[in-house]
């Protein structure tokens, strides 16, 4: 009985015996009594001390007599710390009652293993109904009213103690660590979270009706119609906490039962686990002129053969065993434009991935994408990144420079003067009205862009075709810069050379960005 030695030294925190007897008969559980007395020693909580054991311990010390009470749930913590709670094994199935820390820990670890998560740490999230806060307050007021004049009573009593949440975590973490075979991470910094949501409909409804806030009752009505969706519960919980904070002790005593009433049933518990989104980033190349960047479907018909998003997203999702994928990239190119050279930075966000991919597994994703039969898309520098990668990608997007290679035809032979002309233009300003091909879905604006430099590569065997290499400001419409978009982009290659210019092919050859390299 290790608790006896632990309790021996903590005994000084406890109030006198007649108070403990009072608390026990009011319906407060042993752990709450320890907690409210300010005992923080883990050993006092770890082993389950029941009422009769505590009484006999105290009797040994002080020769008191006590008649044990009926078995009800704690009127303060509503059974959370006992720990007893009622858990639906599966949604809609029978409820199961737990009665020990071990049982609860086993139950939780079964849920985690059932979902087949591969974890190396976890964080515990606990959500308790606001009525527990009200219960604590009611108990404190009761004790103050009754024992204020007694010598042992200090105003600081019942004010500096562990909360129900913290005590539960203290009690549960050791067992969970054992069953899950991994470490607990105190603050919510692990990506893997186990969420314990406790609710107690009986007393919560009483609390809602007691609170003077008219808004709450309306919410409750609406809430009951929707069968108490979790969002509604959260809203009403939050407002209940707010009202409790504002209400004064005097008013509180008139509205709420002091001390808190006895409770038959313990809380209901829902155990859920999830992982915060996993991010995999890198650069992609698009070799095909028939693959769109994102899934593109018009009138139930797909445009193009497939999409970069689907090829990369699905492969990442599969290996991470996630619920889905979201594809983000630094800009995009048309379906008929290839993405070559450095590749374009992208990020795949996988919600609730069952595993955190190792570098071997990431290489697997990379190989799978790069070694398909049809070489449509490729990836480079694929790696696991943090959530800040999203902001990094968006940062300064407008300043980024892009490099292209365009196959241009002009209506007359190319002269050496033309080459000099175009090559000499540095940081040239152009004005582009919203291209007609996107005017149906974008604002009609005139946008000013910069062409940083241009280089001509002659094509052997032709005089009217050439490769135009150019470096431009992000957001420049290259096709329109070549053919002029009926004069709505000026200057254009055609207007500079004084002839008609057409673009036949376009490739992106470089997307200059500092990271994902």
């Amino acid at each position: 009985m290790e608790w006896q030695s632990a309790l021996g030294s903590a005994k000084l925190c406890l109030p006198p015996c007649h108070v403990i007897r009072d608390l026990l008969s009011t319906g407060v559980c042993v752990r709450c009594i320890f907690r409210l007395s300010g005992i923080r020693d883990r050993d006092c909580y770890i082993s389950s001390i029941n009422e009769s054991e505590l009484i006999s311990f105290l009797e040994e010390q002080n020769e008191i007599e006590y008649n044990s009470t009926t078995s009800t749930s704690c009127c303060v913590c509503l059974g959370v710390l006992c720990p007893s709670c009622v858990v639906p094994e599966k949604p809609g199935a029978d409820l199961r009652e737990t009665s020990s820390v071990n049982e609860l820990a086993l139950l939780i670890s079964d849920v985690v293993k059932g979902e087949q998560y591969r974890i190396d740490e976890f964080s515990l999230e606990v959500s308790l109904p606001p009525v527990i806060t009200a219960n604590e307050r009611a108990l404190r007021l009761y004790l103050k009213q009754k024992y204020e004049k007694e010598q042992w009573f200090k105003d600081s009593f019942l004010c500096d103690h562990m909360s129900v949440k913290d005590t539960l975590k203290l009690v549960l973490n050791a067992s969970l660590e054992k069953y899950l075979a991994v470490q607990n991470v105190e603050t919510l910094s692990s990506s893997f979270r186990i969420r314990l949501t406790y609710s107690h409909s009986e007393t919560s409804q009483m609390l809602q009706s007691m609170l003077p806030n008219g808004r709450d009752s309306k919410k409750r009505e609406r809430g009951s119609k929707e069968n108490g969706s979790s969002k509604n519960c959260n809203e009403s919980d939050a407002s209940a906490f707010r009202v409790l904070e504002l209400i004064e002790d005097q008013n509180f005593c008139t509205q709420f039962q002091v001390p808190p009433g006895k409770v038959d049933k313990p809380c209901q518990l829902v155990v859920a686990c999830y992982r915060t989104p996993t991010y995999i980033g890198g650069r992609y190349l698009k070799y095909s002129r028939n693959v769109s960047q994102s899934r593109w479907i018009i009138d139930d018909e797909r445009m193009g053969e497939t999409s970069v998003e689907e090829i990369i997203g699905e492969n990442v999702r599969q290996i991470c065993q996630g619920d889905g994928y979201k594809f983000h990239s630094a800009g995009r190119e048309d379906i008929d434009v290839r993405m070559l050279g450095s590749g374009r930075p992208f990020l795949v966000e996988v919600p609730n991935s069952r595993i955190m991919p190792s570098s071997t597994e990431i290489k697997q994703i990379s190989d799978k994408i790069n070694h398909t039969d049809k070489k449509l898309v490729g990836v480079k520098n694929l790696k696991f990144v943090g959530a800040e990668a999203w902001d990094l990608m968006r940062e300064g997007e407008a300043e980024k420079q892009k490099q292209y290679a365009a196959l241009v035809w002009i209506s007359r032979p190319l002269e050496d003067d033309d080459v000099c002309n175009l090559t000499s233009l540095k940081d040239m300003d152009i004005s582009q009205k919203t291209p007609i091909r996107v005017l149906h879905r974008r604002s009609p604006l005139e946008r000013s862009k910069v062409i940083h430099w241009m280089k001509i590569e002659k094509v052997e065997g032709t005089t009217q075709y050439f490769l135009l290499h150019l470096c431009t400001q992000a957001g420049t419409y290259i096709k329109e810069f070549v053919h002029g978009d009926l004069g709505r982009t000026h200057p254009s290659i055609g207007s500079i050379l004084g002839c008609r210019a057409e673009i036949l092919q376009l490739d992106v050859t470089d997307v200059k960005m500092d990271y994902f390299n």
Binding site: R289, I335, L407, L439, H440, Y465, L506, T509
Partner: protein
């Protein structure tokens, strides 16, 4: 190509199967270093006269004698539904001695060049009927009214024509376009079948 295609054919010129094969080979060997060879086109794929941006991206329709004899106009319809309106090759104004000398958008109840359409939804665009006037085109001694041809919202007029009316003489089919109109799907379908294709228009007017 894009002629008479209602689906967006954004693709530029497609290379032949041979050059696709060559590209594949280049990529299999050294995907990183062969950027330059990937970029070079195969000479056999390059036509002497490639299709123009207009031919490629729009379906061209023609309305000969619209409301008056000789008032030939065109509608270039993009796959996204937008219609570019302009004077067709055989419009009488373009045949006059000295050609077009001035363009005035102040016709009907408002100056069409003053409109300001904003936002993705193009909320404050003015709605016009197919025979609403867009502008007045002046020549030496005559003037001609250019009309919308299709019912819809007026998104833009080519205000470059005010300072450079000569654009109509040099390139009425491109930089000399008059306006851009956004018709509703239903309004477009109503007039579509009464329009001539480029080939039929050329035959009718004996051009080329």
């Amino acid at each position: 190509m894009a002629e008479n295609a209602e689906r967006s054919e954004v693709t530029l010129y497609k290379p032949s199967p041979k050059s696709i094969e060559r590209e594949k080979q280049a990529m299999e060997e050294e995907p990183k270093e062969d950027l330059s060879s990937l970029l070079l086109p195969n000479l056999n794929d390059l036509p002497q006269n490639p299709p123009t941006a207009v031919e490629f991206n729009f379906s061209r329709y023609f309305l000969p004698d619209f409301t008056k004899p000789g008032h030939d106009q065109y509608i270039y319809r993009h796959a996204n539904g937008l219609c570019v309106i302009g004077l067709a090759e055989a419009h009488v104004a373009l045949k006059e001695e000295g050609g077009v000398t001035a363009v005035d958008f102040n016709v009907g109840k408002s100056d069409r060049s003053e409109l300001k359409v904003t936002g993705k939804r193009k909320r404050n665009a003015q709605h016009f009927e197919s025979n609403s006037a867009l502008c007045k085109v002046c020549t030496n001694g005559n003037f001609y009214i250019v009309r919308c041809c299709v019912k819809g919202s007026l998104l833009e007029v080519n205000d470059r024509l005010i300072k450079q009316p000569g654009l109509l003489n040099s390139s009425a089919d491109r930089e000399g376009y008059v306006a851009i109109i956004m018709p509703k799907q239903g309004d477009w379908l109503k007039i579509k079948d009464s329009l001539l294709s480029y080939e039929d228009y050329v035959k009718l007017r004996g051009l080329l």
